[in-house]
């Protein structure tokens, strides 16, 4: 436990703004990591990304590499086996960068709190920019949560420039 905490402290000790300025950095690019949940949150993220929700129009996209990501989007409780993987993904991301937890597991462990194989959620282990509760949250709830980062409720039409500053809520 001590070891992993140390890893976390080093990984998440970041100064400065948590998210990149919205204007020039629009859209916000997310790198998803399932750190050991049941996969339900991942299924809802897939529904969000590929179903009839205009996620990209709202200014969000998933990327395949942490190197091109602005935000680490975590689902699932954090297993001890996944912790170094998450850490590596975080290290690979350019600054400034942020963390979003989707689902109860990623927030505080949910139904899978700490045990021999699990560290629990990221709550109190890392600075989290946004938490979207639920087990799992629906795609609309995830999208609403993401939009709250931009201080907006309704997804703007495709191509519209999002206004407002990056906010950190939890």
């Amino acid at each position: 436990m001590g070891l992993i905490r140390a890893v976390f402290d080093a990984a998440f000790r970041q100064g400065g703004p948590r998210l990149k300025p919205v204007g020039p950095r629009w859209p916000l690019l997310l790198f998803h990591v399932d750190t050991g949940g049941c996969g339900g949150c991942g299924m809802e993220l897939e529904a969000l990304a590929t179903g009839p929700y205009d996620m990209e129009g709202a200014g969000f996209g998933f990327v395949q590499s942490p190197r091109s990501a602005d935000v680490l989007l975590v689902t699932g409780t954090l297993t001890r086996t996944m912790a170094p993987v998450l850490e590596a993904a975080w290290q690979a991301m350019p600054k400034p960068k942020g963390v979003i937890c989707v689902g109860g597991c990623a927030m505080d462990g949910g139904y899978f709190p700490e045990n021999y194989s699990v560290l629990g959620g990221l709550d109190r282990k890392a600075k989290i920019d946004l938490q979207i509760p639920g087990c799992p949250p629906s795609p609309q709830q995830v999208l609403d949560g993401l939009c709250s980062l931009f201080g907006q409720r309704v997804p703007p039409a495709r191509g519209a420039q999002a206004e407002g500053s990056s906010s950190t809520s939890s």
Binding site: G39, G40, P84, N115
Partner: protein, 499 residues
Amino acid sequence: MDAVSLIRAGQETDTPWRFRLDELGWRDMVAALEKDTLPFVGLWCDGTDVHALFMLSPAQPLAATLALEDGRYPALSSVRPVSSLYERRAYDLYGAEGMWAVDVRPLVDHDVWSATAPLAATPGPAGGHKGQISFQPSDALLAAGGVNAGAGPATGGMETPLHVAMAVAGETITQAETVSGYAHRGLAARWRNSRLEDACRLSGRVAAGCSVAHQAAFCQAVEAACGSAVGPETSLIRVVLLELERILLHLHTLAGLARGAGALVVASRCAWFREQLLAESAPVIGSRLLMDHCVPGGTSLREATGLGDLCISLAKLGEEIYPGLATLWRTYPALSVRLSGVGKVDATLLDRVGLDGPVARASGKDCDGRRTQRVYQTLWRLTAGRHGGTAEDRALVLLDEIGESLRMLGEAGPRLGLTAGGRVDLTLEDGEGLGMTEGPWGNVLYWVRLHAGRVAQVFVHDPAPAALMVFEETLAGQDVADLALVRQSLGVNAAALDG
């Protein structure tokens, strides 16, 4: 003597279908299993004993129990290959050693846990490994030239975390194996001495997309252990949830396959249809992924009396949208051709590892748990499977099954009428019970032991371990770029491995 008689020759236990063998009897059983085709369900340990479960017929279990001697027992993996995954897990969790096991490498404990053998009476010290885990490739992988490529566990995609280590020549995979444990969250430990409601909620979170299959099987097992059974209406409500879950997960899988194959229009259509069904069903049922609607003794829906009407309107929606989707899938340029070259599964491999479900039905196997379940008697009907065993065959089986399940909803609706199902009050007595459902990817089975008003232990059989073995073997000869397609078409789920 055959394996069945050898098991039955053991000492009777309180559970009529479980027999206690001595080590000699167990060894004879292992020897007999070599020639016997007795279907194997799984093997698990409880710290004192090791249990092996078989199915005499689709509804008739038979289990053998052996007391561990010095923490050891004769392994079954030489005669039932899939047992290897159970044996490796029993070692990681309890330190129980399978003698003559075909593979003794760690499965889920990669030396990073806070204890070794965490479920043993006296767990060992914490693992000493730092950083990303390392693993020992199998001899077969080394013989193929060793690992020179890998994928996962964090690809940026939405799949559950798994690592695939590969030997690759050019673009072709020559040998591959998986490294699991990333999604191991210790379900067996969490189930131990848990409250009934908590245990049920956990079973709904073994594998998302199969929550009803898991929770319905769990509830049946608990009900059987208590010596009760739910009424026909509750059973029918569970069937409706099971079939709806199948439709939703199959659409999810097909969307992924179409996307992976470059048919984005088809993928969007599948995802859109799924959302249409969800928009109707979620307000009545109370959730999208159907978690926590099967509870011990009954069901729990937001608007239970609306389920009958919901079934009718879902079937109607199906009549409007499904035929077009099926035609689109079959006629979309290059989709079939693209999938027909991917992930051909050998039928003998399925027999060897005991994988059932749509993967087997796409390889010429006639297996479906619904055939023998009483509640399905007038609902389910045999549909033609396929024989090719490729990703295309599997996709078409899923597509057909969606149509069939929609039809079943249409038939179940009027029968349900306005019923809310009712609830049976369970008196929790010490005992064991078994429950079974046909989940979207195959048979899901729960063995539950109740003690002192709590759930003492749970064993789950999910298609996941067998699917993992089929996945590993099928990868050889595939294009590296097809990895995700093969994985999706076989339903490989890392979360479901933690049972």
